[in-house]
């Protein structure tokens, strides 16, 4: 069973502004899918359709095989990480991470254990960070808290909207490594939205390229890297070569699968560039 399935989904922001046009996509359970496209291509809309922050004009969206979720119940099974993080400034780190646990009425001791657990998972020492306020964190730390908050109730699906977009390159590379480490432990179904092809190569099992509301390519990174479709090429060419190398290096320090994937991608990319 596919974890998430879009079939012929259309969505318009207004009658004149069509964002998605008969869009279809299947995300398999446990896959990390990166959706790449230019700003305004409709990537964030796709995420918001998954957890019913937006409703489609037509078509069907199923999460875990079910398309008639009650929105509140659905959202508590789908973790969501925003680019601006959206940490609640009036709650401590522990308060932020425990939000959904409180909504789900977890018993306090159990919730406290879980909060410590996910904080450790994202690489933040609970004794040091649990009592801090969001404005006492660096950008990278804030994003880690955002991820911990999304993972707190252990949802099967994780949606990430430009999660690393506002970070400096070094921190971003560091968090890419962290992401792969966490994912190797939790094995979620993840959709990441990004405008940065390099990020997609660094993180995804499959890459979907969105152009003007359509899925124009959807394949393994290596295949995408060698694509000749001009809409894909534009995104590939915009990617600084440096990013790929750094991504590859970070992966090399991490796990073998990542390195292979990244090397494959760089190799295909180099090949593709050579063909031009």
């Amino acid at each position: 069973m596919a974890a998430i399935e879009f079939r012929d989904v259309s969505f318009a922001r207004s009658p004149r502004q069509r964002v998605l046009d008969r869009f279809s996509l299947v995300v398999e359970t446990g896959d990390v899918v990166a959706l790449v496209g230019r700003s305004g291509a409709g990537k964030s809309t796709i995420l918001k359709l998954v957890n019913k922050l937006l409703l489609p004009d037509s078509g069907r969206i199923a999460v875990e095989g079910q398309d008639d979720w009650e929105p509140i119940a659905l959202r508590r099974r789908v973790g969501y990480v925003l680019q601006d993080v959206g940490l609640f400034p009036h709650m401590t780190v522990a308060g932020n991470v425990g939000v959904v646990l409180r909504l789900e009425r977890w018993e306090e001791a159990r919730a406290a254990r879980r909060i410590a657990e996910v904080l450790e998972l994202v690489g933040l020492q609970p004794s040091e960070f649990a009592a801090r306020w969001p404005d006492e964190l660096s950008g990278g730390q804030r994003q880690r808290v955002g991820v911990a908050r999304a993972l707190a109730v252990d949802p099967p699906v994780l949606l990430m909207d430009e999660p690393f977009g506002s970070l400096d390159p070094v921190t971003r590379a560091e968090l890419h490594g962290e992401f792969r480490r966490i994912q190797s432990r939790v094995g979620k179904t993840v959709i990441i939205v990004t405008h940065d092809m390099g990020e997609a190569f660094a993180l995804a099992d499959r890459i979907g390229v969105i152009d003007e509301g359509r899925l124009v390519a959807y394949d393994a990174p290596a295949t995408i890297a060698s694509s000749t479709d001009p809409r894909v090429r534009r995104l590939l060419d915009a990617m600084p070569a440096l990013d790929v190398r750094r991504g590859a290096k970070a992966m090399a320090e991490d796990d073998g699968a990542g390195r292979l994937r990244a090397e494959g991608a760089s190799a295909s990319l180099a090949e593709a560039r050579a063909k031009e």
């Binding site: 969501y80 009036h90 306020w133």
Partner: protein, 510 residues
């Protein structure tokens, strides 16, 4: 300043009572405004089409001068009339705007990403509001509450005009006695209270800001609890009104306050509790309060009752006027008791120096001079048929320009200091002597008799015959000289009204 301190020391119990009334008025009205305005603001913040007209209406309400607002509300059932209830209604109306506005601003100012995070986390609309939106908007809301409370401290001084008490009572009393000390005795604590409220709520606003540490938030919660406790305690004080007490009213000038106090002490001397509603706005407010039962008795003047209350033509014979007025009152459930003994007719006053140098004795003597003069009259005198219009016709009186409208009690000072040259005062005013003013003789007998007499609700007198008996002991007991002496003691010697009345009643009855 030392005289103000002396005044406080000699009036400390009254000061404490007025201060606690003031605090109760402001706290209760502000809390009620919060209870109305915050839900209203929340409702409007989510509906932009509603927010604009709502703040528009609140803006208009805000621009109505508070005295006018009290006037508008007088005839309204439930909230109108005189006393603390009407004052609270007005103060609440004033408190709404700033709180509605800052509630809307606070909610609109929340980072959309934060709101989206809450929704995406599976919060219901209620949970989002309670756990995220309200806590984040709270500092902004408290800022609005701060504005409302500080404005409330100021507006509450005006509440004394409708007998709601508070520090404004000193301000009004001081104005009516033309005594800066008494004005300051009310104005200084009111200003200090405003500063204190401002500082306390500013601190609360900062303590509640989301970027503060937890302890301070606990402290803020402690402060709010304290405020709630104070409210509970003071509201007990404010609401306490012994049932069965007789409510005595008076208009807002010295003689009326003295007479009101005289009625009050007379009733207290026979062992009955009295609720004083002195310093009410004017004749019409007193009359309406008597009709509605907000007060049980006050002292009215026959000529005033005839023209201003019953809109009858001016009469000249004192007994005929008294009989007519008594019958008219009797028809509307009110009883006019026998006259107190003095006639407080209008006195056309000029400076004593002018009277001497120009050799003026009667109003006729002054008519030729008046063309170079400016006149200052109270609003009531200017409007009443037995006031300026008739006077001008009878004597052919003309001034250099249209008479200035000024507060009756301020006009004595205005005359003495040369800002105006002729005023219409009360014949029994103590200031006539104190400021060396001269009363021109009404040689054409224009002014009708103004015999002072107690008017009371017939119901009250029937149910409480001992009240009638007590009040009737005052009949014929106060001569014009007595009245002028008491007014002089209050206005010029600045003696305490209660003491003046105590001294007067101490004299053995005739």
């Amino acid at each position: 300043m030392t005289t103000v301190v002396q005044f406080w020391l000699s009036h400390r119990r009254e000061l404490a009572a007025l201060l606690s009334q003031h605090v109760a008025l402001v706290t209760i009205s502000t809390l009620a405004a919060v209870a109305i305005a915050v839900p209203l603001g929340i409702f409007a913040a989510k509906r932009p089409r509603l927010a604009a007209p709502l703040t528009g209406i609140a803006n208009v309400v805000q621009t109505i001068p508070s005295l006018a607002m009290f006037g508008f509300l007088l005839p309204v059932p439930l909230v109108g009339g005189v006393g603390a209830r009407a004052a609270l209604a007005v103060l609440i109306l004033y408190g709404l705007l700033p709180i509605v506005r800052t509630t809307i601003a606070g909610l609109r100012g929340i980072d959309p990403a934060i709101r989206e995070a809450g929704i995406a986390m599976g919060m219901t609309e209620r949970q989002l509001l309670r756990q995220v939106e309200l806590p984040l908007a709270l500092p902004s809301i408290v800022a609005g509450v701060r504005v409302a409370a500080v404005v409330g401290v100021g507006s509450a001084t005006i509440a004394a005009a409708i007998g709601a008490g508070g520090l404004g009572e000193y301000i009004y009393r001081g104005l009516s006695m033309v005594d800066t000390t008494v004005i300051l005795a009310g104005a200084i604590p009111a200003a200090l209270l405003a500063l204190l409220v401002d500082a306390a709520l500013l601190w609360l606003e900062r303590a509640l800001s989301p970027r503060r540490r937890g302890q301070r938030r606990h402290l803020a919660a402690a402060v709010m609890t304290t405020i709630a406790a104070v409210v509970v305690l003071t509201s007990g004080v404010g609401a306490r009104r012994s049932t069965g007490s007789i409510v005595i009213g008076s208009k807002n000038f010295t003689e009326q306050v003295v007479l009101g106090e005289l009625l009050a002490q007379t009733i207290e001397r026979v062992g009955l509790p009295v609720d004083r509603r002195l310093n009410l706005g004017g004749t019409l407010i007193c009359d309406r309060a008597l009709m509605t039962g907000d007060i049980d008795a006050y002292v009215e003047y026959t000529g005033t009752a005839l023209t201003a209350v019953f809109h009858q033509p001016v009469g000249k014979s004192p007994t005929a006027v008294y009989d007519t007025v008594r019958d008219l009152y009797a028809r509307s459930g009110r009883t006019l008791l026998p006259p107190l003994g003095f006639n407080n007719t209008f006195a056309i006053l000029v400076r004593g120096r002018d009277a001497r140098t120009l050799n003026l004795r009667t109003i006729d003597d002054a008519v030729p001079q008046a063309r170079r003069w400016r006149a200052g009259f109270g609003y009531e005198f200017l409007e009443r048929p037995d006031g300026f219009p008739g006077l001008a016709r009878t004597y052919g009186l003309r001034f250099a320009d249209a008479p200035h409208v000024m507060d009756l009690t301020l006009s004595y000072r205005a005359l003495a200091s040369g800002q105006v040259d002729l005023i219409a005062g009360d014949a029994t005013a103590g200031l006539i002597k104190g400021l060396d003013l001269f009363q021109l003789e009404d040689n054409r007998e224009y002014f009708p008799p103004y015999d002072a007499a107690i008017v009371a609700r017939s119901n009250t007198l029937l149910k409480r015959p001992e009240v009638r008996a007590a009040l009737e002991t005052l009949a014929g007991r106060i001569s014009a000289a007595d009245m002028r002496a008491m007014n002089y003691a209050a206005d010029v010697e600045h003696r305490d009204v209660r003491q003046i009345v105590r001294d007067f009643l101490g004299k053995p009855a005739m």
